[in-house]
């Protein structure tokens, strides 16, 4: 009797593993997914990788939906340094949430076998929000006439009946200065006040609370194939502008090595158009040293409505770009620390050239 119970249990466990394995294999990262599928996928990622994934609800949208991120990395009792990535601030940029999902899949699929990703998991936590503007994203899926919606879905008022605020103009960083419209029907309406939108507040609250851990802020958009660095306001330079340009250019080179696509690097006033109140600027403004906006494919043909057969190559190249940035930041913060911890009686120069007899490099 006991034996047959045990064998039934074994069969059930095997079936369950098979089912979740099948589930995992069947999630198609080369297709666009509506919000309910993305939410289910997030649950699945947490369920299947409990050692390294936990989800956090950190705010609510205007329409009262939970805004959720996946925290990914080896779990630690004390807070680790962190990298933030959000996708889908703008509803119509479908390739961006697709990239967040791809990125999560890649790091979860490689952290056990790839020593580089393994080290990142050890030293960093990734906070990844696959869809930030959930209301807008859902709206853009409603029908053929809503595909090109950009903003949130805040209701209109007596004075101005149009819906939505451009979340990427709503952040408290030179809010309202340039590149915005005070007409609530405009696609760059920056909201009645800075941080008027609950989606914006969710991000500012979280980044504010984790300011000391946050090393890097990445925000994913489309289109135009660019790597944007702060600030969007003309004549205001980040103190580490030169370094940001250097890191951005290296990322663009890494991107181009994958499929030959060229990505421009620069501040918005140079390469795009002047803006204010962007999340990228806010992150830099509060002191997160590395803040980048990635504008993915394409440049000239499909624009927002990128065909699904370009999801895979777009994600592949963007992944290399993101990793180039993340690895630079990681190495800058951890390699020198690690070396100085393990090296004794050595003369070590700032750029890690150590002259010692018994020095054993970690990497």
């Amino acid at each position: 009797m006991k034996g047959s119970v045990i064998s039934v249990l074994v069969v059930l466990v095997v079936l369950d593993r098979l089912a979740s394995g099948l589930e995992h294999r069947s999630y198609d990262y080369t297709k666009y997914h509506p919000m309910d599928e993305i939410s289910a996928w997030m649950n699945q990622m947490e369920r299947e990788n409990p050692d390294v994934v936990s989800s956090m609800v950190y705010g609510q949208t205007y329409e009262k939906r939970n805004i959720t991120l996946l925290k990914i990395g080896f779990k630690n009792t004390t807070p680790k340094k962190a990298v933030w990535m959000d996708c889908g601030i703008h509803a119509r940029e479908w390739i961006a949430p697709a990239f967040c999902q791809y990125f999560v899949k890649e790091i979860l699929g490689s952290y056990k076998t790839d020593s580089n990703v393994n080290t990142l998991f050890k030293n960093l936590d990734f906070y990844i929000t696959p869809v930030l503007n959930i209301d807008g994203y859902i709206y853009s899926w409603r029908d053929n006439t809503t595909r090109l919606w950009r903003k949130s879905r805040t209701a209109g008022t007596e004075n101005c009946r149009c819906f939505g605020t451009d979340l990427n103009r709503n952040f408290p960083a030179y809010w309202g200065m340039v590149g915005i419209s005070r007409n609530c029907c405009s696609d760059v309406y920056n909201g009645p006040t800075a941080v008027s939108e609950p989606e914006t507040k969710a991000v500012t609250d979280f980044l504010g609370a984790h300011q000391n851990e946050m090393l890097c802020y990445l925000t994913i958009h489309s289109y135009s194939q660019m790597i944007l660095i702060p600030y969007g306001v003309p004549n205001i330079s980040a103190p580490n502008y030169d370094e940001l340009m250097e890191v951005g250019l290296a990322a663009a080179k890494a991107i181009s090595a994958v499929h030959g696509k060229s990505y421009k690097v620069g501040t918005p006033p140079d390469v795009l158009y002047a803006t204010s109140g962007s999340s990228r600027d806010f992150a830099r403004f509060i002191g997160i040293p590395y803040s980048f906006g990635l504008e993915l494919r394409d440049k000239e043909k499909y624009h927002f409505i990128l065909p699904e057969n370009q999801i895979q190559p777009s994600c592949e190249e963007a992944y290399q770009g993101a990793m180039s940035i993340i690895n630079y930041i990681h190495d800058k913060n951890f390699k020198s620390a690690a070396v100085s911890q393990t090296v004794d009686n050595c003369d070590c120069l700032m750029d890690l050239e150590c002259k010692c007899d018994d020095f054993k490099p970690l990497y």
């Binding site: 090109l148 950009r150 209109g156 696609d187 760059v188 390469v271 440049k299 409505i305 065909p307 699904e308």
Partner: protein, 233 residues
């Protein structure tokens, strides 16, 4: 908009002017089988002009959509003048591209397409090109390109130093009865302007034949979608 003299080719003032030159190129040489895209700006400069307005001098490369950005590039030079007038008037473009005449490989496809759709009972109509997932059917590809060329007339006319237009989607195409041996097509196109991020809808009536090329006969701006606005209580 202060930059005068040599411009950084990768920065937006040069790119916007080059995009205007590109729209001009497409109005003259675009077809159902040929649409040019901007590959790279090599050199650019701008100067104020005595009569008011600004003139850009550009050296840039374009590629055909058919071959993509990796295909052979055509070198072009252009003067783009943005006039300074009280009411908006479109930019004036002078353009020279090398070896343009040599591109004749699409003649066969153009004639086959023409023959297929010029018949009196042809009444093509379609919506949402591409669809929400980026798909364009084989049959709709030439209509998509034709819409892009026709939209270039509008994008050219509406351009200023403060705009940067692309065609985001074809909302609809409806073939009208042929006239004077021209294919007649009514398009509703959705244009995206970068600086304002607006989607602007235009209805237009265009004609095309292999001999006469694309002409735009009527254009009509369309107001925003009603559900962008809260209905009155």
């Amino acid at each position: 908009m202060a930059s005068t003299g040599d411009l950084e080719p990768t920065h937006y003032p040069a790119r916007r002017a080059a995009t205007v030159a590109l729209h001009y190129l497409n109005t003259h040489h675009g077809s159902p089988f040929r649409v040019f895209g901007l590959q790279q700006v090599h050199k650019a400069s701008a100067e104020d002009v005595a009569a008011g307005g600004r003139k850009y001098k550009l050296d840039f490369s374009v590629t055909d959509w058919a071959s993509g950005s990796e295909g052979p590039a055509l070198r072009c030079s252009a003067d783009v003048l943005f006039p300074q007038t009280e009411r908006h008037s479109g930019p004036e473009v002078q353009l020279r591209c090398e070896a343009l005449q040599q591109i004749n490989r699409t003649a066969q496809e153009e004639h086959a397409f023409y023959q297929r759709y010029i018949s009196p009972d042809s009444a093509v109509s379609a919506r949402d090109i591409p669809d929400s997932y980026g798909n364009v059917s084989e049959e709709m590809q030439p209509f998509w390109r034709l819409a892009r060329v026709a939209a270039s007339f509008i994008m050219l006319r509406e351009s200023s130093e403060r705009t940067e237009f692309n065609m985001a989607q074809v909302a609809s195409v409806a073939q009208q009865g042929s006239s004077e041996e021209q294919l007649m097509l009514e398009f509703v196109v959705l244009l995206h302007d970068f600086p304002s991020q607006e989607i602007i809808q235009w209805k237009l009536l265009a004609s095309w034949s292999p001999d006469r090329g694309v002409r735009v006969l009527q254009t009509e701006w369309q107001p925003r979608c009603p559900h962008a606005t809260k209905p009155p209580n």
